[in-house]
């Protein structure tokens, strides 16, 4: 390789955009040619200078805030367009109908788990996660009054790392149930509550962890993609919350 060829390729070489064979030839040339080696060094210095963090303009906080306010009204997750809704509805229909078909073949606890998972997926797919967006248990609990024939126990576990973000009315086994929504880092936990007792247990369906327990005449079903350990911790905290 001669100097003219080398100078044409130096920048692509510095950018790691040449093939291995060319890189090898350039390497050899740079070992032999002082002038090209200096130019290569100068190129690297310039690259480094331009990449300095001091020259990078990060987005101002108020731009970020303005944009967030424009696309995400506080705590209510909304679809961004009609097309999005149509897609979500289609996905929901497909998932919903196949799950329902599958579930009718099952019964007992297993079918509870599948119903709970289906409801969790529904809430995520249709982006209809919250009817009552609130981090305040004293707002969420009364909201269920008159919508349910039972009073679900509502606890916020924000201080333990599971903030309550709201509630939703859902239907499992053709009856209205309370759905409480918690966050764990960026993940969503749906906690379904209805009267009855279905013992205790945990299972994994389609990659989601499902854990259930009973307490004071209520059946609790937590569904999420958080780790089994996190979900167990959530269960223990919720059980002992007052």
């Amino acid at each position: 390789m001669n100097c003219d060829d080398a100078r044409d390729l130096l920048h692509a070489y510095a950018d790691d955009e040449v093939d291995v064979a060319t890189a090898l030839q350039l390497d050899l040339h740079l070992q032999d040619c002082n002038a090209c080696a200096r130019e290569f060094k100068a190129t690297q210095v310039i690259k480094q200078a331009v990449a300095s963090p001091a020259l990078y303009y990060s987005a101002p906080a108020d731009l970020r805030d303005r944009l967030r306010a424009a696309v995400e009204p506080p705590l209510i997750i909304r679809p961004t367009s009609r097309r999005y809704w149509a897609m979500a509805a289609l996905v929901l229909l497909t998932i919903g109908s196949s799950l329902i078909a599958f579930m009718t073949l099952r019964n007992g606890t297993d079918s509870d788990a599948r119903e709970a998972l289906a409801a969790h997926l529904r809430s995520m797919q249709a982006e209809h996660l919250l009817d009552v967006p609130s981090t305040d248990q004293h707002t969420v609990k009364p909201w269920f009054d008159g919508k349910l024939d039972f009073a679900p126990p509502v606890h916020d576990l924000a201080s333990q790392g599971f903030p309550l973000i709201g509630g939703r009315l859902d239907y499992l086994h053709d009856r209205p149930v309370a759905a409480l929504i918690f966050h764990r880092h960026k993940h969503v936990i749906n906690l379904f509550i209805w009267p009855g007792s279905s013992g205790e247990g945990e299972t994994t369906l389609q990659g989601y962890n499902i854990i259930h327990w009973s307490n004071a005449g209520m059946s609790f079903w937590a569904v999420s993609d958080v780790s089994p350990d996190d979900l167990r911790q959530f269960k223990d905290l919720y059980r002992s919350a007052h």
């Binding site: 920048h11 950018d15 331009v50 303009y57």
Partner: protein
């Protein structure tokens, strides 16, 4: 808008498909907002226009999610923001408005390639900033996308709508010119003392 199917974006698609899960458009916009603002700030040359363009372009991007595939998200957003920047600059008849402008004087043969001198001069951030700012728009955007965002030649070609060879030549000429600006007519610290 550039054709987002341009082969330039395919490599990043494949890469991201292997490396990470597809994201939602809203998440993508917020994840790459710094990249969007940095590009807009360098293209428009001021904070006010950069913020306006990024906000408008981001909202427009979210409304046209049919162009979004969940992968190659940064290139997708940057292409939209970049085009919005040049639209805005054209409206104000700015001298920075022509993305095809990549004219530079041919570097003198006597150009100093002393890496130590360039390194010394480049420690003056404001000097480097002024030098980048003085580049023609077509070259400036290639430099910003390559050095500050680390995008591949293919991705830059896809975003800016020019062949890969043009990206390569713009980067080479741009860097030589920056080198020249840094070493030319600047009293070195020793002399000015």
């Amino acid at each position: 808008l550039n054709d987002l199917d341009a082969s330039g974006l395919d490599a990043s698609h494949r890469h991201e498909r292997n490396g990470q899960l597809a994201t939602r458009p809203t998440d993508a916009v917020f994840a790459h907002l710094d990249a969007a603002y940095n590009l807009a700030r360098w293209l428009t040359g001021n904070d006010h226009d950069a913020a306006d363009v990024v906000q408008e372009a981001s909202l427009r991007a979210l409304k046209s999610i049919n162009t979004f595939r969940g992968v190659g998200a940064r290139a997708w957003l940057l292409a939209i923001v970049r085009n919005a920047c040049f639209d805005c600059l054209r409206k104000t008849k700015s001298h920075r408005a022509d993305p095809m402008d990549d004219d530079l004087p041919i570097a003198a043969d006597s150009l100093s390639t002393d890496p130590d001198l360039i390194l010394q001069r480049s420690e003056n951030v404001e000097l480097v900033r002024t030098a980048i700012d003085a580049l023609p728009p077509g070259i400036r955007e290639a430099i910003v996308l390559r050095e500050m965002e680390g995008l591949s030649y293919k991705e830059i070609a896809g975003i800016t709508g020019v062949p890969i060879g043009t990206v390569m030549s713009r980067l080479a000429r741009g860097r030589r010119h920056l080198q020249e600006l840094l070493v030319a007519d600047q009293p070195s610290p020793e002399v000015s003392r």
